[in-house]
Structure formats: structure tokens, C-alpha cells
């Protein structure tokens, strides 16, 4: 598979002033994403997942390192101003204008993205997310699940090759989660690369083709879910198909790495 996004030695440091002690949110993270991959980003709270996604999305700048597209040659250790050129962004909390309808939100961002036919783009996303019937309702009247669908649609409005989702299903009930994943899987099948962060390891195990384990700003693992299981200290879990297996494997993996001094 061809690489669509390369992340090289990405670091992010917060604070360091008189009031706050410096905190290393990301420390030399490097990986690449291939076309059509569905990659899960897992790790404990404060691991740096949201920071990584927001840097990829261009919401904030990195302190060092680079995010480059495809085969571009990155300048080593040059901080990226924005890395959103190819990355659609779906924040954890829906970023929508609640007084506008789903259609108006989509159309507005399509216009701001300077898409050639904003109305058509909005209609296409409404169709794909199954929101056409409720397109004219103010977003404030939609359920949490539907709001999240609009949120995802906004991330995809410009048809980016890479979509970064920050805990997309955390506020959804099981049926809403199921519908959302059906939609995401369909996008992946259509060639979009998806990187999503989650605390729900069973989702990673079920949908992801690859798992990135982040802890203390360090990328500790980059491989398939099966490889994570294999690397677990609890070898007896290997091969089991119970939903909680990967979660236990992850906990064990992180504990082992912490004991070995691999993560703070």
C-alpha cells in the first residue's frame, strides 16, 4: 500500500514558564499511514493521543518534527506550522454551530473550504451519513449520535485522503456506535485512511488493521492487533478471541514497558 502521510520525530512540549512546569506531550513520534488503513491510536489518559491528532489536523503546531504527505522530503526537526492539508479532523466534542442546521453547517464549511459546489458537497455528505431527512433541523435538536455524524461529515466534507478522529464513539450508545462504524468502514473501503483514538480497545480490535500504542508521549508500539497480543507478557492470551483480550494485553504491555522504563 502507498504511504499517504509520514510523521517524523514529532515532539510537542507544553509550558515551561514560571507558572507551569514543562510537560513533554509527544516525544519523537514517527510513523506513516498507508492509503485505506484503519489505524487505532490507544493509550492511557495523558498519553498524547489528542495532541498527536490535533497536530496532524493543524489545530496546533508541533515543537519539533514534521508531518509530510506521501513521498515529500521533510526537513529534519523543522516544526510544522500546520499539518492539515490532507487530514480531515473530527474532534471528540462535535464542533458545530448549534443554531444552524446540519445542511447549513456542511454548506458553510464547504464554502470556507472553497469547494467548487458547496451545496452538492453538503448534499453528498448528508446522503452518506443518512441525515438527509433531518438536514434542515437545527443541530441543537439532534441526538448526540446524529450530532457526531454531522461532526464526522464536516471532517470529510473536503474529501481528505486522511481522516483523524478523536474518540469518535465515546458519547454514543451501542446502536449509534454501530452505525458510525459502518460509515467509517465504508469510507475506508472507498480509500480514505482513518486514524482514530479510543479508550475502547475492543473497537480497535474489531475494526483496526493496525494499532499505535502511545504512552507518556512515546510511541511504544506500532503493529497489528495480533502483533500486540503476541508481544504481551501474558502469552496465554495469544489466540483467544474474547473481546477483552486486547485490552488485557494492552494493560500488560504497558505495565511491562513501564517496569522496563520504556514509558514515564
Amino acid at each position: 500500500m502507498s504511504t499517504v502521510l509520514g510523521v517524523h520525530a514529532l515532539s510537542k512540549r507544553y509550558g515551561g514558564g514560571r507558572a507551569h512546569a514543562a510537560r513533554q506531550a509527544l516525544d519523537g513520534v514517527s510513523f506513516s499511514l498507508a492509503a485505506g488503513e484503519l489505524v487505532a491510536l490507544v493509550g492511557p489518559n495523558g498519553a498524547g493521543k489528542t495532541t498527536l491528532l490535533s497536530i496532524l489536523a493543524g489545530v496546533q503546531a508541533s515543537s519539533a518534527g514534521s508531518v509530510v504527505r506521501a513521498s515529500a522530503q521533510a526537513t529534519e526537526n523543522e516544526p510544522t506550522a500546520r499539518g492539515s492539508w490532507a487530514v480531515g479532523w473530527v474532534p471528540q466534542t462535535p464542533a458545530l454551530y448549534s443554531k444552524l442546521s446540519a445542511a447549513e453547517n456542511l454548506e458553510l464549511f464547504a464554502r470556507l473550504e472553497r469547494l467548487p459546489d458547496p451545496r452538492a458537497a453538503a448534499a453528498r455528505m448528508l446522503e452518506q451519513t443518512g441525515l438527509r431527512a433531518r438536514a434542515r433541523e437545527p443541530v441543537s435538536r439532534l441526538s448526540g449520535g446524529n450530532r457526531q455524524r454531522v461532526n464526522v461529515a464536516l471532517g470529510l466534507i473536503a474529501d481528505p485522503p486522511v481522516l483523524a478522529l478523536d474518540e469518535p464513539s465515546s458519547a454514543l450508545d451501542p446502536s449509534q456506535r454501530e452505525r458510525l462504524w459502518q460509515f467509517i468502514v465504508a469510507r475506508v473501503a472507498a480509500g480514505t485512511t482513518v486514524l482514530f483514538s479510543t479508550h475502547n480497545v475492543s473497537e480497535a480490535q474489531r475494526y483496526a488493521t493496525r494499532v499505535l500504542v502511545l504512552s507518556g508521549g512515546l510511541l511504544l508500539f506500532d503493529g497489528t492487533p495480533a502483533a500486540l497480543l503476541a508481544s504481551s507478557a501474558e502469552g496465554e492470551l495469544r489466540g483467544q478471541e474474547a473481546r477483552g483480550d486486547l485490552e488485557r494485553a494492552l494493560v500488560s504491555f504497558l505495565a511491562t514497558r513501564a517496569a522496563a522504563g520504556g514509558a514515564p
Binding site: S54, V67, R69, S71, A72, T80, A95, K99, L100, E113
Partner: protein, 458 residues
């Protein structure tokens, strides 16, 4: 920027309560202020208990000044309501029907004529500290004016008596006898004395003549002294710059400036803070997808809108809304108060610069606060005290405090906006340029502060 502006207008249009407040508030303020300035009673409502005897007069030599004249003077100074007794007056004050009551006691003329005790009135008032202060200052002012006018009448009568003493004449209109004046006595006595043989009688006549001359000279001075005692110092006011601004017109400018400030600051602060609260700020400010066909380009796409563009859009929206509403207020109040419409171009200029500077303050507050409620609260807590400080007359407080107030008022745009509008509407200052330049400077300064507050999109 235009799509963002269109979006904000759409949201504003759907916020019915906010829209209603935006429309109703200035109309209401304009109407209230207009009625208060043009139709409100300018004189306090006061109950008068007149216990003096009808026809009672104050006698000055051969002249009589009716005490009723004083009562009339007092009635002219207030919106009077005559009551028959002190008890009824107390009842009226207690019920709030009148601000105060004045009791004119019986025997007022006798006391005025007496050298032993000063004539006294009784003033009855009630209410809280503010009402008490208002009643006292208003009644004392009305009484002072009535006293001054009554004093002028007494002086006139006294001057006529003195003139008769000096120049001679009839003691009263009923008396037919023509008396000589003091001024003519020295000459008359001198002639008589010259016909007397030298001796004691002649000397006595000459002494009396000299005394009459001395008395005439000093009585001439007495007339001037009387005028001096009545009003020792006359006031001659000179306005150094611009033209005199009637208090009503200044009140109009204050009301419009205050309304404009609240609208600008609340709309601008709320607009910026809403982007954060809805989490859309990060979406707007993050990098835009670059050319999809470009192979291998680094990630450096532009944001959907720049921070400067976003701040400019919010400033323009709030400023334009407040500009329209403030102008509507001025026009509305103009129906009640005579405003100089030939200066309308200057009004528009002052309103535009003021609205921009105040909106820039608003976006700075909105950028620093992270949610709408906090931004609104901060906007009110910041601007209202500053507005009141700006209205404190300079040099009416101690030097150090005055310097602090002046500095604070200089840093925030309300005073500059007020001065610019006052100059534009009332011509209170010869040139408006300095105020406009000040407002432009503050617009840039608060814009820069807002940009600093918006350095992080999350």
C-alpha cells in the same frame, strides 16, 4: 470572511431573544430618555403650608413689601401643591406624593422686621439617603432662589427710602409734605449760618451742616453696599473651547454612548467566545487542505480563516450592528430634543470610530474568556465601572485619584467615544480629529490584544 459574516447574521437572526433585546432596548431607551428630557417636570413637587396672614407686609421705613410676594417667588421655583395644615403636609411627604413640604409660619413678616431673631421656614422631607439628599439640595436651591428674589425686592424698597432721605421728597404717597433731602441740607444751612453773627449759634449750624454732608455721602454708599450684600459676587462665565452644551444634549450623548458600548462589547465578546464554546474555533483556524494534486508538498495549507480575519469579522459585525442601533437611537431621541442635524456627517464618523474601538475591546474580552457567559460577565464587569469612571468630572476628586481615573479612561475607549460623539453632536470641542485618532489607536491596541488571546485555537 463574508461567509462567516453571513453565518453570524443567520445565527443572530435565529437568536430571537437577543434580537428582540437588540431592537427593543435602544427604542425603549430612546423613548424613555426622550420623554424624561422633554416632558419630565423640571421643578420638584412640593407641598406648601402657608400659615402667614393674608396681606401681611414687611415694613421698611415708609415702604411695605408684601410677604405674599415671597410666597409667590417660592411657588414659582417649585411645582407647588398647597395644603392647609402641617399634618396634611406630613401625610403628603410620607405617601411620596410630594418630594418635600415647606411650612411658612405665621408672623413671618414680624420676624423679618425684627432685629432680634431671623425668620425661619420649616422644610419636611423623608425617604432613603438618596431621596433625602435630592430633597434637601432641590428645596435648598429653590429656597435660595426665592430668598434672592425676595432680597432684591427688599433692596429696591430700601434703596427708594435711602433715595428719599438723600434727595428729599414725600415720605409716602398719602403725605403731601415735601421734605428736604440730606444732600441739600449743608447748602441750606450754610446759607442760614452765613447770615448769623459769629458766635455759638453759627458754629452749631455749621457743625450740623457738616454732619448732614457727611451723612449724605455715606448714605450714597449705602445703596451700593445693599446691592453688594444681596449678591456679593456676580458670575461671568467664559467657555474656553467649543460651544456650550446643554445638559439635556449631553445626557443624550451619554445614553447613546452607553448603549453603543454595551451592544458592541457584548456582541463582539459573545461572538468570539461562542466560536470557542461551540468548538468551531479550532475547525476554522486549523490549516486548510492544500492542493490535492500537488505531489509531495509539505503540510502548509492556509487556515479556513486567519485569526486576524476572524477578529475583523466579529469586530465589524458588532460594530456595524451597534452603529445602526446607536444612530437609530440618536434619530429617535432627536424627535424629542432639538439636535443639530447639519452635523450628521460628524455623528456618523464619531459613531463609526467609537463602534469599532468598543467592538475591538469586545473581541479582546471574548478572546481572553473561553465561554460566552464568562465573556458576557467580564464585559459587563469591565465596561460599566469604566463608563462611570469616565463620567467623573476631572478635578472633582483628589489629584492622585484623578490621575488614575484619567489614565484608566484613556486606556479604554468609552471616554474617547463619548468625547467624539459629544463633539460631533454638540460641538463641545472645536476639533474631533484627536478623539478619532485616539479611538483608532485603541482599535489597533485591543485588536492586537485579541490576537494575542486567540493564539491558541482550543
Amino acid at each position: 470572511m463574508r461567509w462567516l459574516l453571513a453565518k453570524d447574521l443567520l445565527i443572530l437572526g435565529r437568536s430571537r431573544l437577543l434580537l428582540a433585546v437588540l431592537i427593543v432596548y435602544p427604542v425603549l431607551i430612546a423613548l424613555l430618555l426622550g420623554f424624561a428630557l422633554s416632558r419630565g417636570p423640571s421643578r420638584p413637587r412640593v407641598a406648601i403650608v402657608d400659615e402667614t396672614t393674608a396681606g401681611e407686609t414687611l415694613t421698611l421705613g415708609t415702604r411695605r413689601v408684601p410677604v405674599g410676594a415671597y410666597v409667590r417667588q417660592l411657588l414659582d421655583e417649585v411645582q407647588s401643591q398647597r395644603v392647609s395644615s402641617r399634618a396634611q403636609a406630613i401625610e403628603q411627604v410620607d405617601s411620596g406624593a410630594v418630594l418635600a413640604a415647606v411650612v411658612l409660619p405665621a408672623g413671618l413678616a414680624a420676624r423679618l422686621s425684627s432685629n432680634e431673631s431671623q425668620a425661619q421656614l420649616e422644610v419636611l422631607y423623608n425617604g432613603n439617603a438618596l431621596e433625602q439628599s435630592l430633597a434637601r439640595s432641590t428645596i435648598e436651591s429653590a429656597l435660595a432662589q426665592a430668598n434672592l428674589n425676595f432680597s432684591a425686592q427688599i433692596q429696591t424698597a430700601a434703596r427708594k427710602v435711602i433715595a428719599t432721605l438723600l434727595s428729599g421728597g414725600k415720605l409716602s404717597s398719602f403725605s403731601g409734605e415735601q421734605l428736604p433731602g440730606l444732600e441739600s441740607i449743608p447748602t441750606t444751612l450754610g446759607a442760614i449760618a452765613s447770615r448769623q453773627p459769629p458766635g455759638a449759634t453759627r458754629r452749631q449750624l455749621e457743625q450740623i451742616g457738616a454732619f448732614a454732608g457727611f451723612a449724605a455721602q455715606n448714605l450714597t454708599l449705602a445703596s451700593r453696599v445693599l446691592a453688594t450684600i444681596g449678591q456679593p459676587i456676580r458670575i461671568n462665565s467664559v467657555l474656553l473651547h467649543g460651544r456650550r452644551t446643554p445638559l439635556d444634549d449631553f445626557a443624550v450623548v451619554v445614553a447613546v454612548s452607553l448603549s453603543m458600548m454595551l451592544l458592541c462589547v457584548l456582541l463582539a465578546a459573545g461572538g468570539v467566545a461562542l466560536e470557542r464554546e461551540e468548538h468551531t474555533l479550532a475547525r476554522l483556524l486549523r490549516g486548510r487542505r492544500a492542493d490535492r494534486d500537488g505531489g509531495g508538498a509539505d503540510a502548509a495549507g492556509a487556515a479556513l480563516i486567519t485569526r486576524e480575519g476572524l477578529l475583523a469579522e466579529k469586530t465589524l459585525l458588532a460594530g456595524a450592528s451597534a452603529f445602526v442601533i446607536a444612530f437609530a437611537m440618536l434619530a429617535g431621541i432627536g424627535a424629542f430634543v432639538a439636535l443639530d442635524w447639519s452635523r450628521v456627517a460628524l455623528w456618523l464618523l464619531a459613531l463609526a470610530f467609537g463602534a469599532l474601538a468598543l467592538s475591538a475591546l469586545g473581541v479582546a474580552i471574548g478572546a481572553l474568556a473561553r465561554e460566552v457567559r464568562a465573556a458576557s460577565l467580564l464585559a459587563l464587569l469591565t465596561t460599566l465601572p469604566l463608563a462611570f469612571l469616565a463620567l467623573v468630572p476631572s478635578a472633582s476628586v483628589s489629584g492622585g485619584l484623578d490621575a488614575v481615573i484619567t489614565a484608566v479612561s484613556f486606556v479604554f475607549p468609552f471616554k474617547a467615544a463619548l468625547e467624539a460623539l459629544d463633539t460631533a453632536v454638540n460641538g463641545s470641542s472645536p476639533a474631533i480629529g484627536l478623539s478619532l485618532a485616539h479611538l483608532a489607536l485603541l482599535t489597533v491596541a485591543f485588536g492586537a490584544l485579541a490576537r494575542l488571546g486567540l493564539r491558541t485555537a482550543e
